[in-house]
Amino acid sequence: MKKYFSLQIKLSSRKFREIGIHPILAIILLISALIALSIYIFKKTEFAPYIIVLLTLSFTTKLAEIKRNEFLKTIFKSNQHIKIRIIENLILAFPFLIILLFYHSFLAVGLLLIISIGFAIQNIKTDYHFTIPTPYFKKPFEFTAGFRKTFYLIPLAYILTVISISVDNFNLGIFSFLLIFVIYFSYYFKPEEEYFVWTFNSNTKSFLFYKIKTALLHSSYFVVPILLTLSYFYFSEIWNILLFLIIGYSFLIFFIVAKYSTYPDEIGVVQGIILALSIFFPPILLVIIPMLFSQSQKRLNYLLQ
């Protein structure tokens, strides 16, 4: 069991080094980001503990994936396998538990502990034969596959919008609005196989424009209803809402060009730093997007003449 965890540490370190960041620095950055995010969420909404629980849940489900667990079961004895799974989940939940304890959210702490242990015993099948319907079937793949992976988060964003109106909390409404965008950003984190770029009979410029156009159109399916709802109930804030809409779309474009600017490699530290800068000062995107667009063209040139 000890060897299993030291192997996991080795694997994680390797992954961080591959993207060009020292593992210790990566952990410090992750913890800092987590603390900053928690402070922000707790400042903005009273539902923060539940958002934290859901956030942890989304990480824990990845470890509970059935194929991964079947593999673990084949190499470890059953009691050892469950022990490993409980420890894994608790390690993952640990920073979130500390945050919840810090904010005296004891109910959420209990809930998180139950979930962490429960998910260690219960495996989750993520590769269903049942096909989840999607509104994006005409233009696969980012939105089609992405929607099926994250569909449960969309109703959550809508619920938050409803709550924001019922408790008259505009900030929570904007949070739900941005949550939808964050879901969409996640569709562009990983580069696709070269074959799926190569097969396009377009040049780099039209390929990138096609990707951006599709993303803007498809993201609007779930963004527009929230936009209209917030505009109706907070009409006096219409300019702020529109500003956040522009910011959301701009970051969506950012993620597309960032992904292809490092293609076929994954998004690296440099893009992460640029992203952090852009979050603090979004107008910088006006310079960064064209810059990354041009870099993307260079990176895609060998596949799309």
């Binding site: 993520t126 590769d127 034969h129 096909t131 233009k139 696969p140 793949f141 099926r148 060998y302 003449q305």
Partner: protein, 226 residues
Amino acid sequence: MIKIKNLTKKYGNKTVLNNINLEFEKGKVYGIVGENGAGKTTLFRCISGLEKFEGEILSDFKPLKNYIGLLLTNPYFFSRITGREYLQLLCNARQVEIQDFEKQNIFDLPLNQYASTYSTGMKKKLAIMAILLQKNQIFILDEPYNGVDIQSNLIITELILELKKLNKIIIISSHIFSTLNETCDKIHLLKKGELIKTVEKENFQDLEEEMKRKSIGNKVKEMQLK
């Protein structure tokens, strides 16, 4: 026509393909054979533009890659993409409009099921169907018969012969010699990255005998199995 002139491919210091010269004409089927690691897949990737190389590839089709339907040995499928969506994606990429995929579903694939859950053979059939629907002019098929059932094997052979009639260029690699015998006009033999022989249809039988002799030899007997 495709003309390959002095193609050399190196990975670092290792030469994977050395000074390859080949010509592929319309309406003909070409077989590329050789043992594992001979450079067949690398050659296909170079022709398709997936790899950089030294030398030249000349063609009437410009840019060449836009006319190629490439079947990889192990086609990749995104998780949570149905067979139908995979076909749609590849058709969109080449601006081909197809309304009814069901009509074209000659392999009777469950198109509404996630492609990642398909068996090896089904995945291969889906990938073949996709490049056929793209209406390509050149077909590069890397191990098209691998993992495919006998009925589909017959369909694939029939498809290749039909594509030949339609004046397409077809390049196949396969370890199943009988299928090459049925479909190919010419077979090129690769060994350790070098083109060592080109065989015309009338001499396929001799090539098969020679390959058997050379690859098996006394190796099995030497193991002294008991």
